[in-house]
């Protein structure tokens, strides 16, 4: 294995992620080893590519089908080039088997560079702000509407900014707990103790009971509710840890 191809095993996944696919990987190999795109030395390129594939497989990474397909294409081109070409076919203008690969590589590289340039252009909201002066409408106020998609996009932006997304993806289950936490707090808004069992909606089914239970534990953990039990096996009561005085 050429020494410059050594990749520490834990970095393997990152390396794979940095390539957008087999074309991107091939381009990297060609540019890195100063190979000529117009006259690709198939043996060398195929060998380099296969080394990567092997490392990926040894790292037990799930290889996308596209990478394996490209390996097959490379080997096919290589084998076709090994066969002596009949003069008749050459006369009929049979194409060099590498031409199509070369065309695809160059087209992809063109788009890859275009994407980079596009990403460098100043973008509204990221690189410059838009001017927006308030209009205070007196009558017939038209209120803005929002969509689920708006909310989702905004939340993602927040996550990206907080760099929380790596370890902190929001799942549906988490939201359902949050929703139940709000429901329980609303129910406890009167400030009095409420019987524990009254906080559950039995008709909603077992899954929802479990979620409600987790929600109450979560509320207790965040010290938003107080849970009391006078004696062992006695009735359990819950109340909001602080009464909401202002209504």
């Amino acid at each position: 294995m050429p020494h410059d191809l050594f990749i520490p095993p834990d970095a393997l996944e990152i390396v794979l992620e940095t390539f957008q696919g087999p074309l991107d990987l091939l381009l990297y190999l060609i540019r890195k080893h100063n190979l000529d795109v117009l006259d690709i030395p198939m043996a060398q390129l195929t060998q380099q590519y296969m080394i990567y594939i092997e490392i990926m497989q040894r790292g037990r990474l799930e290889l996308a089908a596209e990478y394996l397909l490209m390996a097959a294409v490379l080997i096919e081109i290589k084998s076709r080039m090994l066969l002596p070409r009949s003069p008749k076919l050459v006369d009929e203008g049979e194409e060099d088997p590498r031409v199509e690969l070369m065309r695809r590589l160059l087209e992809y590289e063109q788009m890859k560079l275009a994407a980079q340039k596009l990403n460098e252009l100043p973008l509204a909201g990221r690189d410059f702000e838009l001017v927006q002066v308030l209009i205070e409408r007196v009558e017939e106020q038209r209120l803005p509407n929002i969509t689920v998609e708006d909310l989702r996009q905004v939340w993602l932006t927040l996550l990206a900014r907080a760099k929380l997304n790596i370890h902190h993806t929001v799942r549906r289950e988490e939201l359902s707990v949050r929703e139940q936490m709000t429901r329980v707090l609303r129910q406890l808004r009167h400030g009095e103790f409420e019987a524990f069992e009254n906080l559950f909606e039995v008709s909603d089914g077992i899954a929802s009971l479990v979620v409600a239970f987790i929600a109450i534990l979560e509320l207790a953990k965040e010290t938003l509710v107080v849970i009391t039990q006078a004696e062992a096996l006695g009735n359990i009561y819950v109340r909001a840890s602080n009464n909401l005085t202002v209504e």
Binding site: E129, L130, I135, I146, L156, T157, N165, R186, T223, N242
Partner: protein
């Protein structure tokens, strides 16, 4: 618009030279791009050098003067300073707006998203996630819309109020429950994690 350098009288030492022209320019941009009022504390962040309140106010008053007689005016309101269209412009603006839906500012949308996904939360929680102060104007906007309300207080010093979303929000989003919000993991992969 006049372009000469204005040197304003400064505090005792009187030596710090604040570039009033540059500061006025910065204040103007910030106020023109933010529909919500900006407090003096926020506006002060625009200056590279520390500035005193009275200097900022002087520049703001000067800026307000420059807009006199034009269609927008710079006002001081309870929460700070903000530009608004003069009320007598409204009949003209109404000719444009019928088909355009107004939009909430990013600050409002971010605050709402945090309450949706992290409820019940206090204003402090929201500020921590957003990394900036949340004006009470923003919370009032959302409360007036009936999308959030208070569900209690947290038992910590200051007894901060807890905010949560309402059924009204679900109705307006045409959802039966918050769980119907689409999962996010997939899209978060599409964002570049390392901020460039």
């Amino acid at each position: 618009m006049s372009g000469q350098a204005i040197t304003l009288p400064l505090s005792e030492e009187g030596t710090v030279q604040i570039n009033a022209v540059q500061l006025e320019k910065l204040l103007e941009v910030a106020l023109l791009t933010t529909p919500e009022p900006l407090s003096l504390a926020e506006l002060k962040k625009l200056s590279d050098e520390p500035v005193e309140n009275n200097i900022i106010e002087k520049i703001l008053e000067q800026l307000a003067q420059k807009y006199a007689g034009r269609g927008v005016e710079l006002n001081r309101v309870a929460n700070g300073w903000r530009f608004r269209a003069c009320p007598d412009m409204q009949p003209y603006l109404d000719r444009l707006s019928p088909q355009k839906s107004p939009r909430y500012s990013r600050a409002v949308m971010e605050t709402l998203a945090i309450i949706v996904y992290r409820q019940p939360v206090t204003r402090g929680d929201i500020e921590e996630i957003r990394g900036v102060a949340v004006s009470s104007q923003i919370l009032k906007t959302l409360e007036a819309r009936g999308w959030i309300d208070t569900v209690g207080t947290r038992d910590t010093p200051g007894k901060p109020t807890l905010f949560a979303t309402t059924k009204q929000l679900l109705d307006d989003l045409n959802l039966r429950s918050l769980q119907e919000l689409p999962p996010l993991e997939e899209i978060s992969n599409l964002l570049e994690l390392d901020e460039a």
